[in-house]
């Protein structure tokens, strides 16, 4: 139980900080040169995928709350969560890493 709470809080705060950092990075764009704006947008997009992954992980780790409070919906919640986990494991992380790779390629082009 304590382990579940620990994971849930870790993922919850990670999600919060990632979201806030996305907002600050979006604001930070106005101090950046137009040349690197494309790469900035790309890594913000990658962070969005990471935020989605962390959100699904938060839902997964927070299932003990559903079990405690909404026991009637627990089975359907688990079913829905399994689909989400499969999607996140199969696609979202790949999308994130592809976004980072594109960022690196764009930065290479700019800095050459």
């Amino acid at each position: 139980m304590i382990q579940d709470i620990l994971y849930f809080t870790l993922y919850f705060f990670s999600l919060l900080f990632i979201t806030l950092s996305m907002v600050t990075l979006a604001k930070y764009r106005r101090f950046q040169d137009k040349k690197i704006l494309n790469s900035t947008n790309t890594y913000i997009f990658g962070l969005l995928f990471l935020a989605i992954y962390i959100f699904i992980a938060t839902l997964n780790t927070g299932k003990f709350i559903v079990k405690e409070l909404l026991i009637n919906y627990y089975s359907s919640y688990i079913g829905y969560l399994n689909y989400l986990l499969i999607i996140s494991e199969l696609f979202i992380i790949i999308f994130m890493s592809v976004c980072y790779l594109i960022t690196a390629l764009l930065l290479k082009e700019i800095n050459n």
């Binding site: 994971y7 870790l10 993922y11 705060f13 990670s14 999600l15 900080f17 990632i18 806030l20 950092s21 600050t24 990075l25 604001k27 930070y28 101090f31 950046q32 040169d33 040349k35 690197i36 890594y43 990658g46 962070l47 990471l50 962390i54 992980a57 499969i86 494991e89 199969l90 992380i93 790949i94 994130m96 890493s97 592809v98 980072y100 790779l101 960022t103 690196a104 390629l105 930065l107 290479k108 700019i110 800095n111 050459n112």
Partner: protein, 314 residues
């Protein structure tokens, strides 16, 4: 299906790790060449790429799953915190710097190198451009002046035309008003005509109904007339028959009158005879009455005689 899914997941994990490594190598190459531009913030990008490193732990099989999951979640948490704070600090410092720069640019007392550079690099070319523009504008102004004079002449002409036009406009307005009035009048008349048309149509319908009715009545009257003619013929026939009968009846009447006269005469004779009978009957009654009175007298006399006889005997 489950095995295929597991295989895909495993492949995906390896693919992610490969992509992360390629990205890291690329970024390392860029950094090692020392060719990074002034605007690229390396710490933020380092931290962003660091957010993908926790996914490398997924393919390390000798570490137990629980520990892997714990390390992964802790690493994600640490990188997200670091990213947030570094981005926030960078954003704040950049904002302060920009604010300071803007203040210096506005400050008239200080001649900072940036301000001078700004004047040299941006304002001076702009000024030269503006001077050129000014010359061009002056030329245009002269041309415009010439044009203005010609325009003034044209304007005078135009004013005259305008006055005429304004008069014409007033006339046209008056005409328009009249036309509007006429139009409204016509509209009213049109409405009246429409109403009359409606009335006429209603009357037409009524007339048609009456016509149909009259036709029906005419046909009925014709038939009645025919019937009447036939009836009249029959009546005439009956009249002739009746006249003949009348003639017969008059003859009979005449004869009856004659007969009546005879009967009257006979009646008179009868009445006379009856009177005679009545008188005779009266006389008979009188005679009878006289007879009765005589009888009574006789009786009385007989009684008297009898009484007289008795007395005599006594």
């Amino acid at each position: 299906m489950g095995e295929l899914l597991d295989l895909l997941l495993l492949m995906q994990k390896y693919l992610v790790v490969i992509l992360v490594f390629i990205t890291a190598i690329l970024w390392y190459n860029i950094k090692s060449k020392n060719k990074i531009s002034f605007y690229t913030n390396t710490t933020i990008i380092n931290l962003i790429f660091a957010t993908s490193f926790p996914f490398i732990i997924d393919i390390i099989h000798f570490i137990p799953k629980n520990i892997t999951f714990l390390i992964k979640s802790i690493l994600i948490f640490i990188t997200s915190i670091a990213l947030f704070f570094s981005s926030l600090i960078n954003y704040k410092t950049k904002r302060k710097e920009r604010h300071k720069l803007l203040r210096e640019l506005v400050d008239k007392k200080k001649d900072t190198p940036l301000k001078l550079e700004f004047v040299r690099e941006i304002i001076e070319p702009e000024l030269s451009l503006m001077k050129k523009e000014k010359k061009r504008l002056e030329k245009e102004k002269a041309i415009i002046k010439e044009g203005k004079e010609t325009l003034k002449k044209y304007n005078k002409k135009l004013e005259k035309i305008r006055e005429n036009l304004s008069l014409e406009k007033i006339e046209l307005k008056n005409q328009e008003k009249d036309l509007k009035k006429q139009k409204s009048h016509l509209n009213k008349e049109e409405d009246n005509i429409d109403e009359l048309k409606d009335l006429i149509e209603i009357n037409k319908k009524k007339i048609e109904k009456l016509k149909n009715k009259a036709e029906k009545e005419y046909i009925e009257a014709k038939e009645k007339k025919k019937n009447l003619f036939l009836y009249e013929d029959e009546l005439n026939k009956e009249k002739n028959i009746l006249e003949l009968e009348k003639a017969k009846i008059t003859k009979e009447k005449y004869e009856q009158n004659k007969y009546k006269e005879k009967i009257d005469k006979e009646n008179e004779n009868i009445l006379l005879k009856e009177r005679e009978i009545y008188e005779t009957k009266k006389k008979q009654k009188q005679a009878e009455n006289e007879l009765l009175s005589l009888k009574r007298k006789i009786k009385t006399l007989q009684t008297i005689i009898k009484k007289h006889n008795i007395q005599e005997e006594i």
